[in-house]
Symmetry: C2
Subunit: 385 residues, 2 copies
């Protein structure tokens, strides 16, 4: 996954052409909404009859939501504010699922009154809250699946064990809710469709056990995990999605409702960040590595570099010159604000303060992660092409 | 450092009394500015003739800066916005140092025109930038010191090696700048004054070598590292600071200008966050641990729980009831948004959704770290007592 410097800013997509000439005074995310639409259709082609519920948290920019509403997307919301955003752009509340398993009571009541009918849960207490504030709602139970094949494996934070999932269906029924199905997550940035196999096997076992116990499940939420291109080869979205649906079909048969929640896989490649090199230095003259400090860091948009999990490609006007290893860091006076240190980046030896740095495929999990103003640096700006 | 549940909300400081009755609709940081003033005077008493340059990044709330200006504090700024903030509250530009070693060129020019005369640097290119945009300025060179005794040891991000520091003084002189001294950082939350010894020894060696080579240094910036109370015993601020100054005096003698940059040590204990329990659950019925989800997490104010580095004390109205181990997590649909998992927290077994959770001594590095709206959750609110 080592980055090899390419011709200056090549290949020239619409975004790359735009960012080359754009004048900005702070780190700026440039988004191409037409590209979002293109990516949506690619994924939809592979997913077939499954509904796409866009994971709004990946990028809640209004223009993206507006476009997705217009082309028929459904939505996965994490909070009241995300539901309000979708509604404000004309989304049908019946097309919005409230997918956070940890919801504020007031948010559940708001969603219910707004017409949202589908909620996620993984615990008794969450079902109690839903039953009290969205009586009669449909719920799907999120299950935990072990997985270590994703680039960013998920922790145990969400979901419950299989046997508990069935207990929760019983409990939901008791509370007057409708337990309609299961959800799971294979892990963010799961690079190949084949990596879904083990997880799908495990979920199918729970699914069929629940059916055997008399629960007429009709909804399978396969979550996200659809990858974006960060330098390593991935399949085309339509190919990838079609293969996942084949794997699903083989295990679950003809499920009436299948939903998928791409976030990163839908929007990451639709944006690039314009950043600037603030300083290139060495700690001592005989150091092998240079330190390269950008005007954007972990607390101003690049939160996903935590643990060096997501490794962005970076283009500079000096690409093509000889390269050398660099430790990449952000601008804040925070020693944790280092992007890549364990695996240094190869960047041009000619790079210097004032040079532009384009962070490619940065349309997901950047702008909304940005801090309100840590160290006095303003939040990441967003420009729509 | 295991938290032991105490009597409900005891001991009752002014902040704890206030947060008990305050009605809020989202996570809220409550600040007591009188307490900031008290803490300032405590530290000042120990630091003697050293100037306190408050590290604005720790908490840039306007009311804190205003009060500190009024009682004679100086300031350490990380960016143009922090300088503007200090100036807007009446700070004398001569009392503001621009301590970020990675500065935007435009910010240097702004600072220079505003009257700021003291800048940090640790690299040739940074000196070039300062010489071009703040000609004739005073600079201090930040050196790297190895240290593993702080609760949050700093990375190698800032500073240069000792031999290079002297080369940089020569280079600064060549550029028409005034190399006036050295700075360093012992590491955040250095709990005992004695832990400064090794670092001070190392810096003193560089200091005396520079003096021997003809640099008439007159400024020593001892940085931050002053601890806050998070449950483990620490010395009173005045005792701690006095002991550090003794250690400094023994190694550096009578330095004309000494500056200290407390951030956490000045404001952490002056604030508490009002949060709410959203969900208490188990992944399976035979789990030993409960999962407790709060309405605040790593991306909405508690960034310093990364790696479980800062371990906040949490008070609930059910303190006094029997306790059991809990994994603590934030509200977002992000699997990395887990606060304490490796070392679970002991919390009341009676804790449930809707209960208030008071996060004590959370006045530093919380509000400004908060994201602009990840997952649709609004940034941490701030209320001044």
């Amino acid at each position: 996954m080592t980055y090899v410097a390419q011709g200056a800013f090549a290949p020239a997509s619409r975004i790359e052409t735009a960012v080359r000439s754009m004048v900005v005074d702070r780190p700026t995310l440039v988004l191409d909404v037409d590209r979002v639409e293109f990516q949506y259709h690619q994924l939809k082609q592979g997913l077939g009859r499954a509904h796409i519920h866009y994971a709004v948290k990946a990028n809640p920019t209004r223009e993206i939501i507006e476009r997705l509403v217009n082309i028929g997307s459904h939505f996965d919301a994490a909070s009241r504010a995300e539901i309000e955003l979708c509604l404000s752009q004309g989304a049908d509340p019946a097309d919005i699922s409230f997918g956070n398993t940890v919801k504020k009571v007031g948010d559940i009541a708001f969603a219910h009154h707004a017409g949202v009918t589908l909620f996620a849960a993984d615990a008794e207490e969450e079902l109690d809250k839903i039953a009290a504030h969205a009586p009669g709602a449909e719920v799907y139970i999120r299950v935990i699946v072990e997985n270590s094949q994703a680039d960013w494996p998920l922790s145990r934070k969400f979901g419950c064990r299989g046997e508990k999932a069935i207990d929760l269906m019983a409990y939901a029924t008791e509370l007057g809710l409708k337990p309609v199905g299961l959800s799971f997550h294979v892990g963010s940035q799961t690079k190949r469709a084949e990596m879904w196999t083990g997880v799908l096997d495990a979920v199918a076992e729970i699914w069929h056990r629940a059916q055997a116990e008399g629960y007429a499940l009709d909804l399978l939420n396969i979550g996200g995990g659809f990858p974006a291109f960060y330098g390593e080869a991935i399949d085309a979205p339509s190919t990838y999605a079609a293969r996942v649906m084949e794997l699903v079909g083989a295990r679950f048969g003809d499920v009436p409702r299948v939903m998928a929640e791409p976030g990163r896989g839908l929007v990451a490649e639709c944006g690039a960040i314009i950043a600037e090199v603030l300083l290139v230095s060495k700690k001592s003259d005989d150091d092998m590595h240079r330190w390269v400090y950008l005007d954007i860091g972990r607390f101003s948009g690049l939160a996903e570099t935590e643990g060096e999990a997501i490794r962005y490609q970076i283009a500079t006007p000096r690409d093509g010159d000889p390269v050398g290893p660099c430790i990449l860091a952000g601008p804040s006076c925070d020693s944790a604000d280092v992007l890549y240190e364990k695996r240094p980046m190869m960047l041009p030896v000619t790079l210097k303060s004032g040079d532009r740095a384009i962070i490619r495929n940065a349309g997901a999990y950047t702008s909304s992660y940005s801090s309100v103003g840590f160290n006095g640096f303003p939040p990441l700006d967003v420009v729509i092409l």
